[in-house]
């Protein structure tokens, strides 16, 4: 793109995914946002954050409404067809959150025939759909609503990333994370297909951040708070 001569760099995200992205007052903050800020800084542009539904953000990057998405986006083949991904900046681990006193799921292998909560369009949504014989998959736009439903027994479990899950159980004594890992994947930043210029920029920033150990620092900043 030669036409891109914008002062602003726009990142799309879904601010219900602490510690990666969450609201503090009227501001969206989090690990992903720190990375996004570093990218904008190195490009000498002003960062603008658009807080939207997760699946909406992935669509927005495809039609150019946002420049890139930093929202704990997992890399998978299906997505690669329609958008380009940066190098991954974190290995994520998907876990199962259940009601502590009254776990409807005993083991991570035991998801068949359960009512499973996921975030719509999230990697867990796809994974559960493809790998589990669920009784029902409940697709939420916000994890908070899913957590509320889990507490109230309307669903049996939530499949989600480990870090947000830890935040979740820290805030809700009624909930617990099951031992064991459901599956692993990697988070990367998504850009519009073919936007090589931006992708290179992002890759170099991420590599630099990794090298400097900044990403761990970001984590520490956002997880120690609760």
């Amino acid at each position: 793109g030669t036409k891109e001569k914008n002062e602003k760099l726009i990142v799309g995200t879904e601010a219900g995914f602490a510690p990666y992205e969450y609201m503090e007052g009227d501001e969206v903050v989090g690990v992903d946002m720190d990375i996004a800020k570093a990218i904008a800084e190195s490009m000498g542009k002003e960062l603008e954050i658009k807080n939207m539904d997760f699946d909406g953000a992935l669509l927005a990057v495809q039609n150019g409404t946002v420049d890139f998405v930093a929202a704990g986006v997992s890399v998978n083949e299906e997505r690669k067809k329609v958008m380009d991904f940066s190098v991954d900046y974190v290995d994520s681990v998907e876990v199962v959150v259940v009601n502590k006193d009254n776990p409807a799921v005993a083991d991570v292998e035991d998801l068949d025939d359960k009512v499973i909560g996921v975030q719509q369009g999230n990697i867990a949504d796809f994974w559960v759909e493809d790998n589990v014989n669920a009784k029902e998959i409940k697709r939420y736009t916000k994890f908070a609503q899913a957590a509320e439903d889990l507490k109230n027994g309307r669903i049996d479990c939530i499949v989600m990333d480990q870090f947000p899950a830890e935040e979740l159980v820290a805030a809700n004594q009624e909930l617990a994370i099951l031992d064991g890992i459901l599956f692993e994947d990697k988070y990367a930043i998504a850009v519009k297909k073919g936007n090589k210029e931006l992708l290179d920029e992002i890759n170099s920033v991420i590599e630099q951040l990794k090298e400097d150990g900044k990403i761990e620092e970001f984590y520490a900043n956002h997880t120690s708070k609760n």
Binding site: D55, L59, Q120, R139, Q145, E148
Partner: protein, 258 residues
């Protein structure tokens, strides 16, 4: 002269090429659109998602209007009676319910009611939706009924009373049978409104038509075609029902003439 002819020939060729390009562009565009819609409908039996969503939308709307009518009738009767017999606190309670429902967004009500009431895994999502929307609709139905009663000329009440009927009998024998002719079409309309409003049911994890379309979009990475398909479904249903309703209304008012 030759030059002139070549000029014309060239011009002609350029023209034809232009037409061809436009035509080809148009064809490609049509094919792309076709593919988009094909993808949004056929693979993985996606059309089933719309059909299921539509079923949920219609069922929720239908059960919600029934619940709304139940609540609305009770509230309207309480309100009319309590204002007639001057029971202030009862009038006030009815008004509080109506004002809260009409003073806050449906979406917010939905989230509050949902999180306040439902605590069991086994509650059917249809029931959840129906209860949330029914509580909302009740306030509107109550106002519809009140308006229907008030639309009856007050000479009717006076004629009834002057013949020696008491208030309740006049209501039952004279006012309500006439009011029903205004109320029924308005209820039909409320049903249509509900069909449209249930499109926000997605926030409480109910997979209605809108949510189904969004889901298909998040699968095909092409959000517009499923949304347009959903919009068409709504349009057909809403306009079809509206037409039915106006036929029904004409019947009713013809009934006056027998």
């Amino acid at each position: 002269m030759d030059k002139f002819i070549t000029g014309i020939q060239n011009g002609y060729e350029v023209f034809i090429k232009g037409v061809q390009n436009i035509f080809e562009g148009f064809i490609t565009w049509i094919i792309r659109i076709y593919e988009s819609f094909y993808n949004a409908l056929i693979p993985d039996q996606r059309y089933m998602a719309y059909l299921d969503g539509l079923k949920v939308t219609l069922l929720i709307s239908f059960m919600a209007i029934l619940l709304g009518i139940a609540i609305g009738v009770v509230v309207a009767i309480l309100k009319v009676a309590s204002s007639n017999y001057k029971i202030k606190w009862l009038t006030r309670i009815c008004n509080i319910y109506i004002n809260i429902i009409r003073g806050t967004p449906l979406m917010v009500q939905l989230l509050i009611i949902y999180n306040l009431i439902f605590n069991s895994r086994n509650t059917n999502e249809l029931v959840i939706g129906a209860v949330c929307f029914g509580i909302n609709s009740g306030a509107y139905v109550a106002e519809i009924i009140r308006a229907g009663i008030e639309s009856i000329d007050k000479g009717q009440m006076e004629a009834g009373r002057s013949l020696g009927f008491n208030y309740i009998k006049t209501m039952r024998l004279i006012i309500l049978p006439q009011a029903v002719k205004n109320i029924l079409p308005a209820l039909g309309n409320e049903f249509i409104v509900l069909i449209k409003e249930t499109s926000v049911a997605g926030v409480i994890a109910v997979t209605d038509l809108t949510k189904a379309a969004q889901y298909v979009g998040s699968r095909t990475w092409d959000i517009l075609p499923p949304l347009i398909i959903a919009a068409l479904c709504y349009l057909v249903i809403v306009m079809g029902l509206s037409r039915l309703l106006s036929v029904f209304e004409r019947r009713l008012s013809k009934g006056d003439r027998h």
